[in-house]
């Protein structure tokens, strides 16, 4: 247990020291949030609703990104630099190492969520009930699982450049077409249909429903769980194939 705590702590320290993480997961979303709720006039019908909606979009955007990129790219780096090999020789078991990375990431996400929520609340004076804040945070935390699984898939890639390139493109495509940057309603019909099948849309929609005073739809949960299982199975399958080779 002491080993696990120590491992988690070190994982967290490592992420926080990563300048890319701080920029992409904290600075960018808050900056975007400020711009699209205060600088650019989007003329929403319900100002307060839009501000809460967009704060959730940006938090989802942040957590989705660090799930996919931070973990995946680091896995590739550690393997290429031989650190993973060294770890295999230590008594720390693979599963504890992996679990610590997951827990570490989740703590980081909790941290990002808190920071962005506070920043949003301060910037626009958002009035949500305590329950809504907590439920939103929880949804974003748990909903990140399929994206962490995408991260482990990216972590199986052979080169850091490929991993970084692929995860970046995937991240942006998922964010834009999932309606995280701008509401789906203003996008063409085709895009709206496509979004119905994307994990990023369902990730966002769950929390948009919450701040609207409702609850996530069953479809949101179902799709995210399906994607999680799919990516985990795929990741396991590829890992096994790589081991045999």
């Amino acid at each position: 247990m002491k080993i696990f705590q120590m491992q988690c702590k070190m994982e967290i320290v490592r992420v926080l020291r990563n300048r890319y993480f701080v920029f992409w997961s904290l600075v960018m979303p808050i900056l975007f949030y400020y711009i699209f709720t205060n600088v650019v006039n989007t003329n929403p019908q319900d100002e307060a609703a839009w501000q809460a909606h967009y704060l959730m979009s940006m938090t989802v955007f942040s957590v989705m990104g660090s799930s996919m990129m931070t973990l995946g790219i680091r896995m590739v780096q550690e393997r290429l630099q031989g650190w993973s090999t060294f770890m295999r020789i230590t008594p720390l078991s693979d599963s504890v190492y992996f679990a610590a990375q997951m827990v570490g990431q989740s703590v980081i996400h909790l941290f990002s969520i808190t920071i962005i929520f506070i920043a949003g609340a301060l910037i626009n004076n958002i009035a949500l009930t305590a329950i809504e804040w907590v439920m939103s945070g929880l949804w974003i935390l748990l909903g990140s699982l399929p994206f962490l699984a995408i991260g482990t898939l990216i972590g199986l890639m052979k080169k850091v450049e490929t991993a970084a390139g692929v995860s970046n493109v995937l991240y942006m495509v998922l964010a834009v077409s999932g309606g995280l940057w701008m509401p789906l309603e203003i996008m063409p019909k085709v895009m709206q249909n496509v979004a119905q099948w994307l994990p990023s849309y369902h990730y966002g929609n769950g929390v948009w429903e919450i701040v609207r005073g409702g609850a996530p739809e069953w479809k949101n949960i179902l799709l995210l769980v399906t994607y999680l299982v799919l990516f985990m199975v795929l990741s396991k399958y590829i890992r096994r194939k790589q081991e045999v080779a």
Partner: protein
């Protein structure tokens, strides 16, 4: 003998290529063993199997009577791999603390710090910012973090200058003196001869000699009697004696190879050969090594 490591008929093939071919040996507690061989001889592959990183294609590896992958084995071994790597994002001191925490009976932090030879300021820098030499010393300290009973190094001194090399071996000596078992690979014969009390000589994935440096000399480095002789003189008669293994000329001298040099001298006098400047040479390990490793394919 207290067995620490046993390899039984171990083979490792990569696709068509056989990197290690049916090797067997046992190493006992407290031995300092050099795995000596040129590039591509199969040293790293053998060490990877010992560490449980590769599965043997055939045969079995046992450490302390267990499989290499088992946790109780991992708690008792420490290693420095050929490719040195550090964990990015953590400070030197943090990495040392982290790795220490994995083991039931780690070395004290102060001892590890002195093994790295890093100053207080350097201990607070991120590991990825260290120089190559500093990283190597850090990884040396990491190898010893768990106070291992069996220490395995793959080509530990490659890239070290003479003074770091001798400091490295001094430290290793002090661990050997505590009764720890040490296995290291090298392609420097001198190093194996100086440091190890046993050499496993590898060539093309097989062990061509196994013993103390002295035994290896007597096993394969045959002593010879050499002399200068008029080229006209016939040496036919010597060829008739079965004690003589080989006769060849090199740099104006004739070399008569035999494990019984006294007998060769006797024969020379008996046959009244007109030779001068007779010398007896014990086989030199360098020559044996060169001989054995000549024609070895270079590693890719």
């Amino acid at each position: 003998m207290n067995e620490v490591l046993t390899l039984k008929n171990v083979t490792k093939s990569f696709h068509q290529k056989t990197a290690v071919d049916d090797i067997s040996f046992t190493i006992g507690k407290g031995e300092v063993v050099a795995i000596l061989g040129p590039n591509g001889a199969g040293k790293t592959t053998t060490i990877s199997m010992i560490l449980g990183l590769f599965k043997p294609s055939a045969g079995e590896v046992r450490i302390f009577n267990h499989l290499p992958q088992e946790k109780q084995v991992r708690e008792k071994i420490g290693t420095m791999l050929q490719e040195v790597s550090v964990m990015p994002g953590l400070k030197v001191q943090e990495i040392l603390e982290l790795i220490r925490s994995y083991y039931p009976h780690p070395l004290p932090m102060s001892e590890l710090i002195s093994l790295t030879g890093l100053t207080g300021e350097e201990l607070k820098t991120r590991a990825e910012k260290l120089s190559g030499g500093q990283k190597r010393r850090l990884s040396f300290a990491l190898a010893l973090a768990g106070n291992p009973e069996l220490i395995i190094f793959d080509e530990p001194t490659v890239g070290m200058d003479i003074s770091s090399r001798s400091r490295f071996w001094q430290t290793v000596d002090s661990f050997a003196a505590q009764g720890k078992t040490i296995i290291f690979s090298t392609h420097y014969l001198q190093e194996a001869d100086d440091v190890a009390d046993r050499i496993l000589l590898f060539k093309d994935g097989t062990i061509v000699a196994d013993g103390t440096p002295a035994q290896i000399k007597s096993q394969i480095a045959k002593p010879s009697v050499s002399f200068i002789v008029d080229p006209e003189t016939s040496l036919e008669k010597l060829y008739l004696h079965t004690e003589i293994d080989d006769i060849y000329r090199k740099n104006n001298r004739v070399y008569v190879q035999s494990s019984n040099t006294d007998r060769v001298l006797e024969l020379i006098f008996q046959e009244k050969l007109a030779v001068r400047d007779i010398q007896i040479e014990r086989g030199k390990l360098e020559e044996v090594y060169e001989e054995l490793t000549r024609g070895t394919k270079e590693a890719v």
